[in-house]
Amino acid sequence: MSAPLVEIEDLKVRFHGARTVHAVNGVSFRLDAGETLGILGESGSGKSVTLKTLLRLLPENRTEIGGRVRVDGVDILALKGKALADHRGGTASMIFQDPMLALDPVYTIGDQIAEAVMRHEGASAAEGRARALDMLTRVRIPSPERRLNAYPHEMSGGMRQRAMIALALACRPKLLLADEPTTALDATVQIQILLLLRELQREFGMGMIFVTHDIGVATEVSDRIAVMYAGEIVETGTVRDLIRDPRHPYTKGLLAANLHGAVKGSRLQAIPGAPPALEEPPRACSFAPRCPVKVSGCDTQRPPAITPGAGRMVRCVLAEAALQPG
């Protein structure tokens, strides 16, 4: 078995400020080359923070990162200066949620892509622009020659996200990090972008980590899904396993809250309550206060990581009980 593209072990991220926030509390996962992992979770579950850690994009001065993060065999947490900048956009690159905010408003799309190519490959300005044109064609932006000289505000939302993808892929990264890339888009444009991403990911043979709060989107693009809650992965598995046979009560709740198969006129099955504030590292199961099937030990000890099958993991005492024969 070859070495995985991404290997995260016991990642802990803490933000210091007016109050300390334990955003990520012991996340571990692996990603093979060419594989797509969907990270599913609600706001504040630590999914975006985990993603940004892979590019070290969190504010240095008030972030404390622990654990091990390796991408393509390189220890990301030890990177500094130029080596870190080489990693960003070279080995791994990111697509942001809102391209309107993530693209520089006073630079043309062509210049922004060319800049990345010139930076990473030492290309000339002309080569950079040629690559930019090639990339815009690949993401199927109509009349790409013209769009090369367009500013972000002159494009539609879907077009901007295509441009963002072109930028992210311009230097042929091995790993693509997508931070809710379809959340800011219309539903019809969403599906186009998802299909495009999936296609490009196969074409370029990249590994992709796709963060979303939309379970439908996650199942659409991913090979495997990791469900995050309160800074922890509570369940992982292949899309098929997770949808057919969710083991964690939170995953079950998420699936039940889906519109598909809902009876018209009936109330949607929402999960009651809100996620914890994470001012303290979790000492028990974080989901226990909202859990419909809570048992006595849930409030006092952290649930173990159970492996119910190959490539699966569940953090729940009930899953453990279910595995016990009898």
């Binding site: 080489d86 956009g89 693209l103 006073v106 630079y107 990345a116 990473h120 002159e154």
Partner: protein
């Protein structure tokens, strides 16, 4: 782009008209008789009436304005009551001196202001930021005529490095680009640069801090740009606003330098304006105010055009 400039030019016309009316009215609304300064106190009523007729003060205001505006358009600003010389010629010379002073002061202020602003914005809340902010607050709050006098005391009286007053040796008003003359420019320019320096520094600090907190800066880092590359993006985003502030400051300095020009006896428009006011020299006053106001309007136009060239989001249609 050309249509944008043309459009902006057309918008400028009503503004210019309004400005000219205000200039004219301001001077005429002011209490007192404009002839008191030229006529002896015991002049006969007949002489007064005659003089009034010669200067045209006996006609209705609107006619006076019309005639004045017409002549102004032809470049004739009338004749100074106090000196009898054409206003346009006096003004031309003074304007050259003031422009030189104001442009140099704005340049110094802009360069230092940007430097302090960028340092403060990049290292927010560090001691560097506090130092830069302190300097810029001093810059905007210290009365500049006082600062001018202090500088004169230090550099002219005590150290005897630089001349205290005038625009050339022996009080001559003829400018030349040599060290003897440039020496006269240094103290007033430095004094004058302090306010734009403070304002530009504060603006740029806020701009840089805002830009750095935006997601597209994270986007540039995510792309792998080094600090220098990111800095280019910050500069290009900050430039339109910073330049606009600079342009406005230049406008203020052109008109608002009466105190500094008086302290340094600098033969510029501010000095001229002061003289015109104290001597109740109506044609000179009108002409000076009008030309300064028009400069301000033109400067705004230039700033707008430059801004639209730098910032693609400004509508050019």
């Amino acid at each position: 782009m050309l249509t944008y400039i043309a459009k902006r030019l057309i918008y400028t016309l009503p503004v210019a008209l309004g400005v000219s009316i205000v200039c004219f009215m301001l001077v005429h609304i002011a209490p007192g008789d404009p002839l008191t300064s030229v006529l002896p106190p015991d002049a006969s009523a007949q002489l007064q009436a005659e003089m009034r007729k010669i200067y045209g003060f006996d006609r209705p205001l609107i006619v006076q304005y019309g005639l004045w505006a017409l002549k102004t358009l032809q470049g004739d600003l009338g004749v100074s009551i106090a000196t009898g010389r054409p206003v346009a010629a006096e003004l031309g010379k003074a304007l050259g001196n003031t422009l030189m002073l104001a442009v140099l002061a704005t340049f110094i202020g802009f360069v230092l202001g940007c430097l302090f602003g960028f340092v403060a914005g990049y290292f927010q809340n560090s001691w560097l930021d506090k130092l830069a902010s302190f300097v810029s607050i001093i810059g905007v709050s210290v009365p500049h005529y006082w600062l001018g006098m202090v500088l004169v005391i230090i550099f002219s009286v005590q150290l005897n490095w630089l001349p205290a007053t005038g625009a050339g040796p022996g009080g001559s008003a003829d400018w030349a680009w040599d060290w003897v003359h440039v020496k006269h420019l240094i103290l007033p320019a430095v004094t004058m640069s302090v306010i734009p320096m403070g304002i530009v520094a504060r603006t740029v600090r806020a701009l840089v801090a805002d830009i750095l907190s935006q997601e597209f800066i994270t986007g540039q880092r995510a792309k792998g740009l080094l600090d220098g590359g990111v800095f280019r993006h910050v500069v290009k985003n900050a430039a339109p606003t910073a330049l606009a502030v600079m342009g406005l400051q230049l406008g203020y300095l052109l008109g608002g330098s009466i105190l500094i020009e008086t302290v340094f006896s600098w033969p510029g428009t501010g000095f001229l304006l002061g003289q015109a006011i104290f001597q109740r020299d109506l044609p000179l006053l009108q002409g000076t105010i009008l030309v300064l106001a028009m400069f301000f309007v033109a400067l705004n136009l230039v700033v707008d055009v430059i801004q639209s060239m730098l910032d693609p989001r400004v509508q050019r249609a």
